[in-house]
């Protein structure tokens, strides 16, 4: 069942269009992340759902209840939407204790004070914050503040919880732990969550489905595996991972395959919807799919290794083939000079 439905949403700042017709559905118990570069409109979409931005066209429903309808000029104010929102900055109220921060939403819902006390304590205990109830936000670490912000958004059981870059305010090290912890929490509590992030690894780790936004429209959506392994556009392919780009010309197409030709090389790859025979094309392959081969063969090229970097768990090598730069990973070190690289035909997308 759809907890949240967004239909053809448009939003403009002055004359600058931010959202140009976005549609999406969030089902119960599902985590959807809004992914995209800065300026793509992902935060604006989240805020529009929360009632903090005013779209001018389209429709937003939470469960059965329509909260925005451009045609009917209907806009339910933020406070009447009953959503939970975790802010990027956490936005904890500095003059209220942790317990009062969490209790505020319940107080506004006219919950009896005895109930408030038990529910606040329960929410804090669930997030292992029980012992910090009487502290003020500035007395907490970044990770603790984040958990208070989540407790505050969850305590009144909103049907959907919105999270705006929930991990971006944490240190790099803490972020990975928090990511695992947050995914576990969401799954355990069976939350329906919409999460904004600009980090593709974070979005893949945390969500059941990803909506990739580009320039105010949804570029592609799907499960993390679909997004990573089967991108439909160059933008998606580029955004979802680390890639090698091979510019060339598409000379042949057959059975979902395309032959890409560059100066001195020919490679078969999978064609995409936009691929046209005879036109310029771009080959894309994930760094980790490029293999070092021991000699010439099908779909192999012979570039020159110029730089090698040790990354701890692997090596990264930079190759040059004419004007094109390629990068590849190996477990061990490589000698300088020419090497054969295999570009598996199933892993090369031709756009």
């Amino acid at each position: 069942m759809a907890e949240l439905t967004v239909d053809n949403l448009h939003l403009t700042y002055g004359t600058n269009p931010i959202l140009k017709g976005v549609s999406m559905v969030l089902n119960r118990g599902e985590v959807v992340s809004l992914l995209g570069p800065s300026g793509s409109g992902k935060t604006t979409l989240l805020r529009a759902v929360g009632g903090l931005e005013s779209p001018h066209k389209g429709k937003i429903s939470i469960g059965e209840k329509v909260v925005f309808d451009g045609e009917k000029n209907l806009e339910v104010p933020a406070e009447d939407r009953n959503l939970g929102l975790v802010f990027q900055s956490y936005a904890l109220w500095p003059h209220k204790t942790v317990a009062d921060n969490v209790a505020f939403g319940l107080k506004l819902r006219k919950v009896s004070s005895a109930d408030i006390a038990t529910r606040v304590q329960k929410a804090l205990d669930e997030l292992s914050l029980g012992h910090l109830a009487q502290r003020y936000p500035h007395q907490l670490s970044g990770g603790q503040q984040q958990r208070v912000a989540i407790a505050r958004a969850l305590v009144y059981n909103p049907p959907v919880i919105l999270m705006d870059e929930p991990l971006s305010n944490l240190d790099a090290k803490l972020r990975e732990e928090a990511r695992a912890w947050l995914r576990e929490l969401i799954v355990e509590m069976q939350l329906s969550a919409l999460v904004v992030t600009h980090d593709q690894a974070e979005s893949m780790a945390m969500s059941d489905r990803i909506l990739l936004l580009n320039n105010g429209v949804i570029e592609q959506q799907g499960t993390p595996q679909q997004m990573y392994d089967n991108p439909q556009t160059l933008f998606t392919a580029d955004f979802m991972g680390s890639n090698n780009r091979l510019p060339g010309k598409v000379s042949q197409m057959q059975d979902g395959r395309a032959l890409l030709e560059g100066p001195g090389w020919k490679l078969w790859g999978r064609s995409r919807d936009s691929t046209k025979s005879g036109a310029d094309g771009t080959g894309m392959i994930r760094l980790e799919r490029v293999k070092v081969a021991n000699g010439p063969g099908e779909n192999r090229i012979e570039p020159e290794l110029t730089t090698s970097m040790f990354l701890g768990d692997k090596w990264e090598h930079v190759f040059h083939l004419g004007d094109t730069t390629l990068r590849a990973h190996t477990a061990g070190a490589l000698q300088k000079g020419k090497h054969w690289l295999e570009i598996p035909r199933d892993d090369l997308w031709v756009f």
Partner: protein, 573 residues
């Protein structure tokens, strides 16, 4: 080779010029501030006026006023009114600041000058406006009675409650300016978080935004309470019919209590007032520093987004509209009408009663014309001189951190604690006490000097905020190429703060147009200014002339306000 080396040596040597000049500035300031005050203290310890041969040292004056039941009544009234107006002005000012600074109320920018008007119009004029607009036979009272066919309007102006309400309303701008400055530094995320949690805009204001600027609210509460103790024009006009006295009006009415000038009694009352106000000023200073610290802690707040009001736009607009109507439109339209009407009451048709009679009278009366000319002069020329003096003091303190800086910091605060009425009195005595100064007594110089000292703290805030905007690197760069402090001040800092000084001049102009109480005791042939003239005419009951002069005064302030708005001068910090 010799010339550049010599030149360098000259500029690098510690020239005494700046130090001498600084010492002189500090000395003059200290004399202007402390001289009159010590004279008040001295006079309060005499048993008769200082020029009286029979004077003796003693506590007779204190003894007399402490036995006077009117003194205690006045003290009680002052505290009642101060408390009442604080209770009204602080929440209202906070809410208006929230609406103006944080919400998306359409057309709100248009309202801002109106909210600030009460702080630019003389309280004497505003109170008079309330009398002619909403007093027993005021325009709005009569219209209300005719419209609803009632015998009596459901309000009255001549009670302590009414005075507290009117004083509360007219002091809303004092809260407003500090609250908006603090709200500016607040990130909108905390408000949005409350919104999403289910809070209406009113709840957001009361539970999140205003509590977060508590230090500033507390500061303005103390400020308003303090201004309540100082009140003079308002209780003079509104308290008179029922004989309600507050501290300042008690002092004013003491003048001839014993039949002869009772300077010693007035001085004793003055010392009592300062004993109440000075601790309040020190408290304000502490609170203001606290508020600034708080603001910088909050400073990291991210982008600002106006809170959408939705259906709450109506109550917000109503609050704003009602405030502006009651506090600004009613009194000022009352004066504007009254100035063109010489007889007004029930059954008078307004369109038939309109006349220029009052203005003609003002025009033919030399003292009134002189009052107008003097008021313009003291604002324009006097204002410029005052800003020049304040700037000199500002430079004496600029980027210095020694004992003298702290001394000057406190020194400029001292006049803040002295209500204008007392300062005027003190300067009157200075001019009488020191024979060399006596010839200046009947010149406008006496009024200018008193004004400049009374507004020292306000003016120094304007100047130092301009000076603070000059980045220290610009001055350090000057020093590194070999300029002396004096040269840097004249050739680098001063040109850079010129726009700030012009803005200060304009603000000082408006303040000087508005000022009235300081000139009350200095009023003499030759020193007339509109403000003091109004007090004297009001005492004499010349309502028509008071209305005409009040309107002229409002127009003068309005011109200043218009120029300020035209050139985008910030009317608040």
């Amino acid at each position: 080779m010799a010339t550049p080396a010599g030149a360098l040596q000259r500029t690098a040597s510690p020239l005494p010029a700046f130090a001498t000049w600084r010492a002189l500035t500090i000395l003059v300031t200290a004399t202007a501030v402390l001289g009159p005050l010590s004279l008040i203290l001295y006079q309060s310890l005499l048993t008769a006026p200082f020029f009286d041969a029979s004077k003796q040292l003693g506590f007779g004056a204190y003894d007399f006023i402490f036995r006077d039941p009117d003194f205690w009544k006045a003290l009680r009234n002052s505290f009642l009114i101060s408390t009442g107006m604080t209770i009204i002005a602080v929440p209202l000012g906070g809410l208006l600041a929230f609406v103006m600074e944080r919400t998306d109320l359409p057309g709100k920018r248009w309202f801002e000058p109106f909210i600030l008007v009460p702080s630019f119009v003389s309280p004497m004029v505003l109170s008079f406006g309330f009398v002619v607009a909403a007093g027993p036979v005021g325009f709005y009272t009569v219209w209300f009675q005719e419209l609803f066919g009632v015998e009596q309007a459901p309000w009255g102006l001549y009670s302590i409650t009414a005075m507290a309400v009117i004083a509360g309303l007219t002091h809303v701008p004092n809260v407003y300016v500090y609250a908006t400055a603090a709200l500016k530094n607040l990130g909108s995320d905390v408000e949005e978080a409350a919104r999403v949690a289910g809070a209406s805009p009113l709840r957001v204001a009361l539970e999140v935004s205003l509590p977060l600027i508590m230090p500033s609210m507390l500061f303005s509460a103390v400020l308003v309470f303090f201004l309540g103790i100082e009140l003079f024009g308002l209780p003079l006009v509104l308290g008179d019919p029922e004989g309600i006295l507050v501290m300042a009006t008690y002092l004013y009415k003491l003048t001839n209590k014993l039949g002869v000038p009772s300077y010693h009694l007035m001085a004793a009352v003055a010392v009592c007032i300062v004993a109440i106000t000075f601790p309040l000023v020190l408290l304000q200073r502490r609170l203001l520093q606290g508020a600034r610290k708080y603001a910088t802690i909050k400073g990291k707040a991210g982008r600002m987004k106006e809170l959408p009001l939705g259906k709450w736009a109506w109550p917000a607009a109503a609050l704003l509209g009602l405030f502006v109507f009651v506090t600004v439109i009613v009194p000022i339209s009352g004066i504007a009408l009254r100035a063109f009407v010489t007889n007004w009451g029930f059954g008078v048709n307004l369109s038939e009663a309109l006349t220029l009679e009052s203005f003609r009278f003002v025009w033919h009366e030399p003292t009134h014309v002189r009052a107008i000319v003097n008021t313009v002069l003291i604002g324009v020329v006097g204002g410029a001189l005052t800003v020049a003096c304040y700037t000199a003091i500002g430079f004496a303190n600029h980027r210095r951190n020694d004992g003298w800086t702290r001394f000057l910091d406190y020194l400029v605060l001292v006049p803040r604690a002295v209500p204008g009425l007392l300062a005027g009195l003190a300067f009157l005595w200075v001019f009488l006490f020191f024979p060399p100064l006596t010839p200046l007594r009947t010149t406008i110089f006496s009024v200018w000097l008193a004004y400049s000292v009374v507004w020292l703290a306000y003016g120094m805030r304007l100047i130092s905020s301009s000076l603070m905007q000059v980045s220290p690197e610009l001055e350090e760069a000057g020093r590194s190429v070999g300029a002396t402090r004096g040269t840097i001040s004249r050739q680098i800092t001063l040109p850079l703060i010129r726009p700030g000084l012009l803005a200060s001049w304009l603000l000082v102009f408006m303040i000087f147009e508005r000022e009235y109480s300081t000139a009350v005791y200095l009023l003499a042939p030759g020193t007339e200014v509109i403000g003091a003239q109004l007090v004297s005419l009001w005492q004499g009951g010349a309502i028509d002339i008071v209305a005409a002069l009040s309107l002229i005064n409002i127009v003068l302030v309005g011109i200043g306000l218009g120029i300020a708005l035209r050139f985008g001068v910030k009317l608040r910090d």
